[in-house]
C-alpha cells in the first residue's frame, strides 16, 4: 500500500470532493486526509490517498483527466504507507515527498486504459496497438496519450522484471534497466545519459514522432530505480525528422 499526495485545481469547489472521491474509490484507494482552499482559478484541493501500488498510475491518469480538473500534481511518499494515527498534516509532509514524474495531462486516459491490457497481453509486440492509439485519439491528445501509455508500460515492465535490487546511480540504471528493457522492443544503444533508438517503428520519416511513448517508457522504467528526486526524458532528435536515430536525453 503506497501513499500519494495529490493536488488538483478546479474552477468550482462545490461537489469537487464527492466527484473525485468516487474516482478514488473506484480505483481501490482511500482518502487519508484532505484540504480544500481557495485558489485564483477557483479551488485547490489537496488529497492524501492510500491504496494498492498496481492501481496507482491508473488512478493518477483518471484524476488527471477528470473534466473538473484544471491542473493536477501528484507526489509519492518514499517508503510507502504510514499509519494514519501518526500521519503528519499535509503541509508538514511536503519535505518527505518526492515529486512524481509529470503525468501526461491532456491524455485520452480512458482510451489508453482500454488499450493497456492488450498491450500487456501482446508484449513486446505492442507497436500495432500504439499505432492504433495514435489514430484513435484526438490530435491534441496524441502526444500526451502516447506518453501516458509509455509511462504505464515502463512502470509495469520495471515491476515485472527489474524491481529486485538496490536503487542505482542514473548511468547504472540506464545500463542495467532501461537499456535491456528497451532492447526487447527496439534496437537501442547507450551513449552516456542518452539512449539512441535505431529504426523506431513509431517515428517513420515524414510521419509524426512517436517519441513521447519512449520518453514515458524510459521515465516509467527508471522512476523507482534511480537515486534521484526527479527524472525527465526528452527526445532531442527524431528519425521522423530525418535524423539517423531517435535520441533520448535522460536527466535528473
Amino acid at each position: 500500500m503506497a501513499e500519494l499526495e495529490v493536488r488538483v485545481v478546479s474552477a468550482r469547489r462545490e461537489g469537487l470532493l464527492i466527484e473525485l472521491g468516487r474516482v478514488i474509490n473506484e480505483y481501490g484507494h482511500v482518502l487519508v486526509r484532505q484540504r480544500l482552499v481557495p485558489d485564483v482559478q477557483g479551488a485547490c484541493l489537496t488529497l492524501v490517498l492510500r491504496g494498492p501500488d498496481e492501481r496507482q498510475l491508473a488512478l493518477e491518469a483518471a484524476l488527471g483527466s477528470h473534466p473538473r480538473v484544471i491542473s493536477f500534481e501528484c507526489m509519492r511518499t518514499p517508503g510507502g504507507a504510514m499509519p494514519s494515527s501518526t500521519a503528519a498534516p499535509v503541509a508538514e509532509l511536503a519535505p518527505l515527498i518526492q515529486p512524481e514524474l509529470s503525468l501526461a495531462v491532456g491524455a485520452d486516459a480512458a482510451r489508453v486504459e482500454r488499450m493497456l491490457p492488450n498491450l500487456a497481453k501482446d508484449y513486446p509486440r505492442i507497436f500495432p496497438w500504439l499505432i492504433n492509439l495514435e489514430y484513435a485519439v484526438a490530435a491534441e491528445a496524441r502526444d500526451a496519450s502516447l506518453h501516458l501509455a509509455g509511462r504505464r508500460t515502463g512502470a509495469w515492465v520495471y515491476k515485472r522484471d527489474f524491481a529486485f535490487g538496490a536503487r542505482l546511480a542514473l548511468n547504472d540504471a540506464i545500463k542495467r534497466i532501461a537499456l535491456p528493457a528497451l532492447r526487447v522492443l527496439v534496437s537501442v544503444e547507450q551513449h552516456g545519459d542518452q539512449l539512441h533508438v535505431r529504426g523506431c517503428p513509431l517515428c517513420q520519416p515524414g510521419s509524426l514522432s512517436g517519441g513521447r511513448f519512449f520518453c514515458g517508457f524510459i521515465e516509467g522504467v527508471l522512476a523507482e530505480s534511480v537515486d534521484a528526486v526527479t527524472l525527465s526524458v526528452r527526445e532531442s532528435s527524431c528519425h521522423s525528422q530525418g535524423a539517423p536515430t531517435c535520441v533520448f536525453d535522460i536527466t535528473h
Binding site: 492501481r55 504507507a81 515491476k159 535490487g165 538496490a166 542495467r176
Partner: protein, 247 residues
C-alpha cells in the same frame, strides 16, 4: 610431536559448495526484498530471514559438511554451546551486512561495510566452529594463511553482494550465489590449510558429551531441506505475483 594430515572425501567437498550456493541463493532471494519492504516489520523480517539463510544455511551448514568431509585421523566431537554460538555469530553478522547493503541507494561505502561484516561473519563462524572441535590432537594455525582466508571471505562477499544488488536479470541471483559459495568455501578450505594438527594423548573435558558427526548430519539435512523448500516457495510466489501484475 608427530604432525597429522587431513584427507578429504571429494564428494562431500563438492556437496559443501553446493550447499553454500543453495544457502546463498535462498538468502539473496529474500535479501533482494529488503529494499522493497513497505514497513519496518517487513524489513526486519526480510533481514533476519536472509541473515538466517546465509549464516545458518550457506555458512554454518557448509562448514560442518566440510568438516564431515575431512578425515583428521583422530576422533572428533563438537562442543554444543560453541557450535550454537558460531551459528548465531554468522546469522547476526550476515543480517547486519545484508541490512546495510539493502538500505537506500547502492554505494561503495555500504558495500565495503557489508562485505567486511559478512566476511568476518564467515571467518568468525569458521574459527569459532573450529574452537568447538573436541579432539585429542593439538591444534595451531599458520597466521599468514588465516589472514589470507579472512581476506578471501571479505573480497568474495563484496563481489557477491555487488552482483546481487547491482545487476538485474538471470545472473543477478545465480551469479551472486555462485560467488558467495566461493567466498564461503574459499575461506573455509584456506582456513583448513592454515590448520596444523599434531598428535596429543589426552581427550579434552566434555568430549563424550560433544555432538557427533551423525547428529550434525541430521541437522544439516534438515537445514538444507528447509532452504530448498523456502527457495522454491519464494520462486513460486514471485512467479505468481509477476503473472498477476496489472499494467
Amino acid at each position: 610431536m608427530q604432525e597429522m594430515h587431513q584427507h578429504y572425501n571429494m564428494l562431500l567437498v563438492v556437496l559443501s559448495y553446493l550447499v553454500s550456493v543453495l544457502g546463498s541463493f535462498t538468502a539473496l532471494q529474500i535479501a533482494l526484498g529488503i529494499p522493497l519492504a513497505r514497513s519496518g516489520k517487513q524489513r526486519l523480517t526480510s533481514i533476519v530471514a536472509a541473515g538466517a539463510a546465509m549464516g545458518g544455511g550457506a555458512i554454518w551448514a557448509m562448514h560442518f559438511i566440510a568438516m564431515l568431509a575431512c578425515n583428521l585421523g583422530v576422533q572428533v566431537t563438537y562442543d554444543m554451546v560453541l557450535t550454537g554460538v558460531s551459528a548465531l555469530l554468522a546469522i547476526v553478522a550476515c543480517s547486519l551486512g545484508l541490512a546495510i547493503v539493502g538500505s537506500g541507494t547502492f554505494r561503495f561505502v555500504n558495500l565495503l561495510f557489508a562485505g567486511v561484516l559478512m566476511g568476518l561473519g564467515v571467518a568468525g563462524m569458521h574459527y569459532l566452529g573450529m574452537m568447538a572441535m573436541l579432539t585429542s590432537a593439538q591444534v595451531s594455525y599458520d597466521g599468514g594463511v588465516v589472514v589470507l582466508s579472512v581476506a578471501i571471505a571479505v573480497i568474495a562477499s563484496m563481489a557477491a553482494l555487488w552482483l546481487a544488488f547491482n545487476l538485474r536479470g538471470r545472473w543477478q541471483m545465480l551469479g551472486s550465489a555462485l560467488v558467495m559459495g566461493v567466498a564461503v568455501c574459499g575461506m573455509h578450505y584456506t582456513g583448513m590449510g592454515a590448520l596444523q594438527l599434531s598428535e596429543g594423548d589426552t581427550l579434552p573435558a566434555g568430549f563424550d558429551q560433544g555432538l557427533r558427526g551423525e547428529y550434525l548430519g541430521l541437522v544439516i539435512f534438515g537445514l538444507v531441506a528447509l532452504m530448498l523448500v523456502l527457495s522454491l516457495g519464494i520462486s513460486l510466489v514471485r512467479q505468481q505475483r509477476r503473472a498477476g501484475l496489472s499494467i
